[in-house]
């Protein structure tokens, strides 16, 4: 594969796509990869401080009206957090960090409507996303968000609740089939007493903890929750399970090369679960740039939206429009469908979501009206009970204001004859056959060079090929 194509594949996978100018001077992969890792911890994305949170938190003694108002405020803050993170994905100089954080956000799926807890969990994820998996696992497992989502507050010596232990083993570390039901029961006993206080700080409630002996994965001892996590990390299967998922996320939806995965998993394990090292190696492997890996991923809705916004900046009259886009396309940050996260791959596409994806570019960039009905979310259901109208939510994208200036100025330098090909090469992961390129030209607006650039761009973004990366 040519170096330019290698660069494009890398930008598409380790980030959210090529930026203007990226492709003019291709650089050797070995030079490019180290620069993708930020040298320091990311600044937290913060929409609510701890002090503000204490004010906003709904309390039992409040009357129903006041509690309802608090809930509305919480939902707004969660929306703000969502938009902050989305904006970070669009503007960051380190897309790899956000792309990898998005992976962990699905891996450690957590659906609670508490914005402060979600904000802390996101920070735990972003600050460990490229660090050590063991640290990440421990930070997430002790976060108030996950402890409350997986009911570990209710996990007590007298009444063990297995939910947390089950998900830690099934979804966070080992995967189905690599532990027994007894292992879950014993691990649940070890996690008894793990909880958080009203400020969301982790606490270990000694009186609720079962100090007795436990048997877990062939080991015996008076294990605590920390011991359980260490024992799980000792299992080579944990490295294999995580590496497999990372491979699927960064390399291919459709083809898993077991040999490559095992090789990488071994490396990951021996590097003490250093995620950054694992990814740096993955991106510098020659096989990563095999032809068959081109276009082997379907963009998730969030990747798609971030891609739109990175290509041509958009301002929305209604600033919540990106939230509605996430919902209509089927991936809302902070609201994964269940504890297993988003299934991804082909499941993003059905006939209606494909048509919506193909119509959005014209709505966003060509100011064509599009009206769609949103399904209700549970968090909104509670809210609508007082409004007596039958609930339907419409959203309308006609009020998106694209800022084409940079984009058009850049592409104006391209000779008109080669413009369609150059744009196709810039926007699509795969090469467009000549026949399609010809059809594309027929449909484009040739009145002025500027309109030609815009209409070709919109048409290219509507193509099924644009859904791939």
């Amino acid at each position: 594969m040519e170096l330019r194509d290698r660069n494009k594949l890398l930008y598409g996978r380790a980030g959210f796509g090529v930026s203007l100018g990226d492709d003019t001077q291709p650089r050797p992969i070995g030079d490019l990869v180290p620069g993708m890792f930020p040298g320091q911890q990311p600044d937290p994305l913060s929409v609510v401080t701890e002090a503000e949170w204490a004010e906003v938190m709904p309390r039992k003694e409040m009357d129903p009206q006041a509690r309802k108002e608090k809930r509305t405020e919480m939902r707004q803050q969660l929306g703000e957090l969502n938009l902050r993170w989305l904006n970070e994905m669009v503007t960051t100089p380190y897309p790899l960090l956000e792309k990898t954080s998005l992976f962990w956000h699905g891996h450690f799926a957590c659906r609670i409507d508490n914005p402060y807890f979600q904000q802390r969990l996101l920070q735990d994820i972003r600050s460990n996303a490229l660090g050590n998996f063991g640290d990440l696992l421990k930070a997430v497992s002790k976060s108030p968000a996950m402890l409350s989502f997986l009911n570990n507050q209710q996990n007590r010596k007298q009444h063990p609740n297995e939910n947390f232990a089950r998900e830690v083993m099934e979804l966070f570390t080992l995967g189905r089939g690599h532990y027994s039901e007894d292992d879950i029961k014993e691990a649940a006993r070890a996690f008894t007493g793990w909880g958080f206080d009203t400020n969301g700080s982790f606490i270990f409630r000694e009186r609720a903890h079962d100090t007795g002996q436990k048997k877990l994965l062939g080991k015996k001892g008076n294990f605590t929750g920390d011991d359980v996590l260490d024992i799980l990390l000792e299992q080579k299967q944990a490295a294999t399970f995580i590496t497999q998922k990372l491979y699927r996320y960064f390399v291919s939806d459709t083809r898993i090369d077991e040999g490559r995965v095992n090789e990488l998993a071994k490396y990951f394990y021996h590097q003490d679960y250093d995620i950054g090292k694992l990814l740096a190696r993955l991106f510098t492997e020659d096989w990563f740039y095999d032809e068959k890996n081109i276009g082997a991923k379907i963009k998730s809705p969030v990747e798609l939206i971030v891609g739109y916004l990175r290509t041509v900046p958009l301002r929305f009259t209604n600033e919540k429009t990106p939230l509605q886009l996430q919902r209509i396309l089927g991936q809302m940050l902070f609201a994964p469908p269940n504890v297993a996260g988003w299934p991804g791959g082909k499941s993003w596409i059905d006939s209606s979501s494909l048509v919506i994806r193909m119509r959005l570019p014209e709505a966003l960039l060509g100011s064509k009206e599009i009206n769609l009905q949103l399904k209700m979310l549970d968090t909104e259901l509670a809210d609508t009970s007082e409004k007596m109208e039958i609930h339907t939510t419409q959203f309308n994208l006609a009020r998106a204001h694209p800022d084409w200036s940079n984009y058009v100025n850049y592409w104006k330098q391209q000779p008109l004859q080669t413009l369609p090909e150059a744009l196709a090469d810039y926007l699509l992961p795969v090469r467009l056959p000549g026949e399609k390129l010809e059809a594309l030209k027929q449909f484009a607006d040739k009145d002025t060079p500027e309109e030609y650039i815009k209409s070709l761009t919109i048409l290219l973004m509507e193509l099924p090929e644009y859904q791939l990366c």
Binding site: A296, N338, P343, D350, V355, L377, V430, A439, L468
Partner: protein
């Protein structure tokens, strides 16, 4: 800014989708008489979103516990429409009551599942996927029905239709999914965009890229499905009056497609929100009126065309509500609930099983008597001629309503 594709619109109206089958899909040309789908049986699923209060739907009007638990919300005996000595139906469901008297309604009581979840989204997932509470499935029960039975439907994709803009999990399978259409004309217009058609027709299986092929196949299916649904929607003009509500319009579309003998086996529509934490009385009544009139119009439409015995209408909700009312004249999330089965071909009409026992509660909530997966299994085996064992991954005892 105008993309000049609009200049092509008139041209494209002449060319129907079938003329533009891409080369690589020629092998899958539509077969008008697929054998696996010879039966005319149709299922219409109405999802009552938000958790409908079953105790104020089918009212245990001889039960003191009911009245004591709901001082402001209970419906008194005189107001409820009597079904028998024990039970009445919500006064807004007048026409469903009339159908009940004709023997066209079967009411299943206490339908739920073990270890009920009170979160809307989780419990809705459990109902839509047909899973157990401790099991995570990523496909829906109707989606798996399509996977299993739709080996013959490659050229268009109309065996199951959700009347909405996006698909519910219930309708998504591993390899196949239902079609989402909320407005036939709009959908047809969107999907028959000349640029999309041209691209679908131009795609040749040149690449090795299997995902691109998958997307183009989906695109082609969508274009021909939109075409098919559009044609079918023009076959039959109803003379019935449906409510001028979102639900009414959707039911009207369902009626027109069924009466046109479209090849759709399952229709899915949602109605709500029933999440009545506050001020329940007024809201439930309003939603029920709409539901009652919409169902009545559909049934009348079907009867007029002798199709009522081919159609089963099923209602469900992700959970019922707690027995006791709350302080805001509403009810909070509960567990087991009732389901309506409405058809001209019921084997057992009336109250299918006894009302839930209010003296034997589980922390203030009803205990389930019937697993909802038994209901699905019954419909799959006895109505849709499918294999519930494969679709639900285990065998459930069937019920006798159809």
């Amino acid at each position: 800014m105008s993309v000049s594709r609009r200049k092509f619109v008139q041209l494209s109206a002449l060319a129907s989708a079938s003329l533009l089958v891409p080369k690589f899909l020629k092998a899958f040309e539509y077969n008008p008489m697929p054998t696996a789908w010879s039966s005319e049986k149709v299922l219409v699923i109405i999802q009552l979103s938000g958790g409908n209060d079953g105790l104020n739907t089918i009212i245990p009007y001889r039960n003191d516990i009911y009245y004591k638990s709901r001082p402001k919300l209970a419906i008194d005996r005189a107001t409820a429409l009597a079904l028998n000595d024990e039970a009445g139906i919500h006064p807004a469901l007048q026409q469903i009551k009339a159908l009940y008297d004709e023997g066209h309604v079967s009411i299943l009581n206490g339908v739920g599942y073990p270890r009920p979840d009170r979160s809307h989204f989780r419990s809705m997932d459990i109902w839509q996927t047909g899973s157990r509470a401790d099991e995570l499935l990523t496909t829906g029960w109707i989606g798996r029905y399509l996977d299993e039975n739709c080996t013959n439907c490659d050229s268009h994709n109309t065996r199951a239709i959700e009347v909405d803009d996006t698909l519910s999990l219930a309708m998504k399978g591993q390899g196949r999914s239902a079609l989402a259409v909320s407005d036939v004309d709009k959908f047809y217009k969107a999907a028959s965009d000349p640029f999309f058609k041209k691209m679908a027709a131009t795609h040749a299986e040149a690449h090795e890229n299997q995902l691109a092929d998958y997307l183009y196949k989906t695109l082609h299916e969508t274009v021909s499905s939109a075409d098919y649904v559009f044609q079918q929607s023009k076959v039959y003009q109803t003379t019935q009056t449906y409510p001028d509500s979102a639900l009414g319009k959707r039911m009207k579309m369902i009626g027109s497609l069924i009466n046109a003998h479209a090849d759709t086996k399952v229709y899915y529509v949602a109605h709500g929100s029933f999440d009545t934490h506050v001020g329940q009385m007024q809201r439930q009544e309003q939603l029920f009126k709409d539901l009652d009139h919409s169902i009545a119009a559909l049934v009348a439409d079907l009867k007029q065309n002798n199709r009522f015995s081919d159609v089963l209408i099923m209602t469900f909700s992700e959970f019922g509500r707690r027995v006791a009312q709350n302080a805001s004249n509403g009810t909070d999330h509960g567990t087991a609930n009732n389901m309506f089965m409405i058809s001209g071909a019921l084997k057992k009409a009336g109250l299918y099983n006894p009302l839930s026992d209010l003296t034997d509660l589980d922390e203030g909530d009803l205990r389930y008597q019937l697993d909802f997966k038994q209901v699905y299994a019954t419909i799959l085996d006895n109505w849709l001629a499918a294999s519930s064992r494969n679709i639900l991954n285990r065998k459930y005892d069937l019920l006798g309503f159809i």
